[in-house]
């Protein structure tokens, strides 16, 4: 039986998870019943802490405080729940509503709500809230006590800037949204929350600025997130892969960042951010090609410098894409293009190399990829060994053994550096894969092969869309006004309009007269110098 047939046979019907059965039962009036149910549902897990106490002796009313160890903020529970409840133990309970007493007099935490179904109860309990059950009530009180040990706000390791905020996102979604709120203090900064992942029940928020963002983009984001029915969401990468436009392509159509200032900047341009609990990587949609060559720092330094740096990045990307391919094409097809002196040098180096140029290139490229992958996930101490092995054994040894020419090592090394200089890892990794395709193209047909590959690449890129936005905007379609923040980075005072490609509701960004002007009269400045000043001449 062929493999394909076997696979068809193994095709099974989707099983419906049994979570639906939980909702059938609602909260009972008996506290013992309820506590038993919770114990049974959580498998008697010891980290579910249940504490019972009496809150009134006549009639005897008992209450239970339930929370998950480690997820809650312990001082809050001790001081504002247990302590106050014990203090307010009443000898005789008035004919008042117990809940009213509790909410108004006893419980002193920030947010308090009432629930009556088990689903919501467990959801809150497992998110770190504290559940208060009262005897004789078929409802439960949920007190917000989320807390516990979390990584503090630190500098992001993957997006380092010399200038600008050092804050990076953490794994906590609340901290992350707060970090953005601290930057944009505007009631129009809207957050929508949802809960995805059938087993993990991961919190997820989308954030945008109402009045700037195009409603259609938000609608599209909601709709795409709405159809997510994954078992687990362990990272924003899960979400990225199920909402992106081109899931099998090589180019990312969703970008992510660890920096709150990057999120803020993108929100202000009219984009939507997706926060996922448990990861510092916040997704930003829609993403266009040129974004992957930009960093927040570009806007913090003066514009001629960041323009040059952006151009350098695009150039680096091209090198990392076609560097070895160019070398292979030139040395096996277009020797006439190399200056004679250089050709003699290269020829003398390849004289003793037993392989054709393409095999040489593949050997070195694959070796480099192995070294990179080996060094990436190693502890620092071992990675030093790897760099020695890489530099000495492979780099030098391979040349002395005459297996690869020194010129090829230079080309591969330059390409490697260029690929690491691309600021966004997602786009660098696309170039890394495509590089091999270009090398094969160059080995088959020289420059013709490279150009053919580039044409195909461009055709692919212009056909891409990210949440309805053309991927190559503002180049294709050409939007002249947006060009000043693309490969170039115009002066801040010239950014009078938001990017047109994102179709923002509010196009006007700032006043039109932001260019600084010199003082009208120099005399105004001179007048300030007084007798006895150091500048006095």
């Amino acid at each position: 039986m062929s493999y394909r047939k076997l696979r068809k046979k193994m095709h099974y019907k989707e099983q419906i998870p049994d979570s639906a059965s939980d909702t059938q039962k609602s909260i009972d009036t008996s506290i013992t019943e309820n506590l038993n149910f919770i114990k049974q549902k959580t498998g008697n897990s010891p980290d579910i802490i249940i504490r019972t106490l009496a809150i009134s002796h006549d009639p005897k009313v008992s209450a239970a405080i339930i929370h998950v160890d480690g997820l809650v903020d312990n001082p809050t529970i001790n001081e504002f729940l247990v302590q106050t409840m014990e203090d307010s133990v009443q000898e005789k309970l008035q004919d008042e509503d117990l809940f009213t007493v509790f909410t108004e007099k006893v419980v002193a935490v920030g947010s308090l709500e009432t629930v009556s179904d088990w689903d919501t109860l467990f959801q809150s309990l497992l998110s770190g809230d504290t559940v208060i059950l009262l005897d004789g009530k078929n409802e439960a009180l949920i007190a917000s006590t989320r807390g516990g040990e979390r990584r503090p706000v630190e500098q992001s390791d993957s997006e380092i800037t010399l200038r600008g905020s050092k804050e990076g996102f953490t794994e906590s979604i609340n901290t992350n949204t707060a970090l953005v709120r601290r930057i944009i203090k505007n009631p129009n900064l809207w957050v929508e929350s949802m809960n995805l992942g059938k087993q993990t029940n991961t919190d997820l928020s989308i954030m945008y600025i109402n009045g700037i963002v195009d409603e259609n983009i938000v609608k599209e984001v909601r709709q795409r997130l709405g159809r997510v029915d994954l078992d687990a969401i362990l990272d924003s990468g899960y979400i990225e892969q199920v909402i992106e436009d081109e899931s099998s392509g090589l180019f990312p159509t969703v970008t992510h960042t660890e920096r709150p200032d990057a999120v803020a900047g993108n929100l202000l341009e009219g984009r939507v951010a997706i926060f996922v609990n448990g990861t510092p990587h916040v997704l930003i949609v829609p993403a266009i090609m040129i974004q992957f060559f930009q960093t927040p720092e570009d806007y913090y330094v003066r514009f001629p410098i960041s323009t040059l740096i952006r151009m350098l990045r695009v150039f680096m990307f091209l090198i990392s894409l076609i560097g070895p391919a160019f070398y292979v094409a030139v040395t096996t097809f277009h020797q006439e293009m190399i200056p004679t002196d250089l050709l003699v040098i290269i020829a003398s180096q390849t004289e003793s190399v037993p392989f054709p140029a393409i095999v040489e290139a593949l050997i070195m490229e694959v070796t480099f990829e192995i070294l990179r992958e080996a060094g990436l996930r190693m502890p620092n101490k071992i990675s030093a060994t790897i760099s020695i092995v890489g530099a000495l054994v492979i780099g030098q040894g391979v040349i002395q053994a005459g297996i690869v020419s020194p010129a090829m090592v230079i080309v591969v090394a330059t390409t490697a550096i260029a690929s690491l200089a691309t600021p966004n890892y997602d786009i660098a990794i696309s170039a890394r894969l495509l590089r091999f395709a270009f090398m094969l193209g160059a080995a088959i047909a020289g420059f013709y092969g490279i150009i053919l590959g580039l044409i195909m690449l461009i055709v692919h890129l212009v056909s891409l869309r990210s949440f309805g936005i053309p991927y190559m905007a503002p180049f294709a379609p050409l939007i002249p006004k947006s060009l000043k923040d693309s490969i170039m980075r115009g002066p801040i005072w010239s950014f009078n309009e938001r990017p047109k490609s994102l179709n923002p509701q509010n196009r006007v960004r700032q006043g039109t007269d932001q260019k600084p002007l010199p003082p009208i009269k120099r005399g105004m400045m001179r007048a300030e110098t007084k007798e006895g000043d150091k500048n006095e001449s």
Binding site: T331, T332, F333, Q335, E336, T340, L343, V344, I345, I346, A347, S348, Q349, T350, E351, V353, P356, A357, I358, V359, P406, L440, A443, I444, A445, G446
Partner: protein
């Protein structure tokens, strides 16, 4: 990927590793030809000599190579009925593919240039895919072209490079030569109103020794390659040589001088003042006078004084004007002498005919056919010169002048 695609994919993936795929050729399969020399045998066949670069022996190219021990070039000789056949026959003695894209020098023997001309050779060169039209042409003077490319040179490891560099530097610094490439030669040769000029090279010394490493082991070498005059071509054949001051005059008229020394006599002292041109412009104007063409050449030169061997007071502007006047006369004389020589040999190397063609296209038709033989030799050429001294070097008066003043 379905199975339908797997097999084609692997087949395609194998393609780059297969040899002989399209025009792909590895570097080590190439024999890089740096110079191509053509001689002629008595029986009328061509003798081609290829100067091939031996990359392993080029010093500095690779550590651990045999550099410096062995010649950085190898030469092979083959015969054939035309330049391409020569190259094809050479494949029987060369183990690699002769690669002409980096051939920078084409050497033609004087004998071949005089008797047969270059027309038939150049067609083969220009038509070939690999051969560049920027390849420089030179004539080997008093020496076989094949022997010329076998001479080793000390500083430039590839002799062809050395020949081209000395050609270009003498053109720029000395103003007595012209670097002609294939394209320039062909353009001039096909034009009815212009004839090409090609620099000559000669070898001085013991050629046999110069082919061995002995040549590189002494500081003076056994033989040297030397730029030597300019050959004048008519109808594709070498007809005359121009040497020395006449070649300088030729370049003045041709507007090719970049930095040339001009020496003038001063008060009975021969070549007492030396002047170095730094900027030069020559304008050639044509007009028809009484139904006859007339040419006026205006040369404008700017330069510095370099050597003054006589006591002159150059702080005095009037003296400078006198020196300028003398310079003008000297340049004018050189240019006129060069034009006279060209008129005598009935070859319009200056392109006067072409200039006339451009300015008076209709009138040109009546002169075109007999331009070289009838009209050019009888041409009335008026040469005017303006020379300016811009700087007098790092000092003012020559110390001789100050010395004289002291003794007075």
């Amino acid at each position: 990927m379905s199975r339908k695609w797997i097999i084609p994919f692997f087949m395609a993936a194998c393609l780059p590793f297969l040899s002989g795929c399209w025009s792909s050729i590895e570097l080590k399969e190439l024999a890089i030809v740096s110079a191509y020399a053509l001689d002629k045998k008595e029986d009328g066949t061509y003798v081609g000599t290829f100067q091939l670069i031996n990359p392993m022996n080029v010093p500095g190219a690779l550590q651990g190579g045999a550099s410096g021990q062995n010649p950085s070039i190898a030469t092979y000789t083959a015969t054939g009925d035309n330049p391409l056949e020569v190259a094809d026959r050479a494949s029987t003695i060369v183990s690699r593919d002769l690669y002409f894209a980096h051939t920078s020098l084409l050497v033609i023997s004087e004998e071949l240039a005089r008797e047969e001309g270059l027309s038939s050779i150049l067609d083969a060169m220009e038509r070939g895919i690999e051969f560049r039209t920027t390849t420089k042409i030179v004539i080997s003077r008093d020496v076989k072209a094949g022997e010329f490319v076998q001479v080793l040179t000390a500083i430039d490891q590839v002799p062809a490079e050395k020949a081209i560099k000395s050609l270009e530097f003498t053109e720029e610094l000395y103003g007595e030569n012209i670097a002609t490439n294939l394209q320039k030669f062909i353009n001039a040769a096909v034009s009815t109103g212009k004839e090409p000029l090609v620099s000559g090279f000669s070898v001085e010394g013991d050629i046999e020794k110069a082919k061995t490493m002995e040549q590189l082991q002494s500081s003076d070498g056994s033989a040297t390659i030397k730029v030597n005059g300019m050959g004048v071509f008519k109808e594709g054949k070498l007809v005359n040589w121009i040497d020395g001051e006449k070649s300088e005059g030729t370049l003045w008229v041709l507007d090719q001088i970049r930095q040339a020394p001009v020496n003038i006599d001063w008060e009975n002292h021969e070549d007492a003042i030396s002047y170095k041109v730094v900027r030069q412009k020559t304008n050639v104007a044509t007009k028809i006078k009484d139904g006859k063409p007339a040419i006026s050449v205006h040369i404008r030169a700017e330069g510095d004084l370099r050597v003054i061997e006589v006591p002159v007071d150059i702080t005095n502007p009037h003296v400078l004007f006198r020196i300028e006047g003398a310079l003008q006369q000297k340049i004018q004389a050189e240019a006129k002498a060069a034009i006279e020589v060209a008129q005598k040999t009935k070859t319009d190397i200056f392109g006067f005919g072409e200039k006339l063609h451009h300015s008076e296209p209709k009138v040109w038709q009546q002169f075109e056919k007999e331009w070289q033989d009838v009209y050019f030799p009888a041409l009335d050429v008026d040469v005017t010169v303006e020379a300016f001294i811009r700087r007098t070097g790092m000092r003012n008066n020559p110390y001789l002048f100050d010395l004289n003043k002291k003794s007075e």
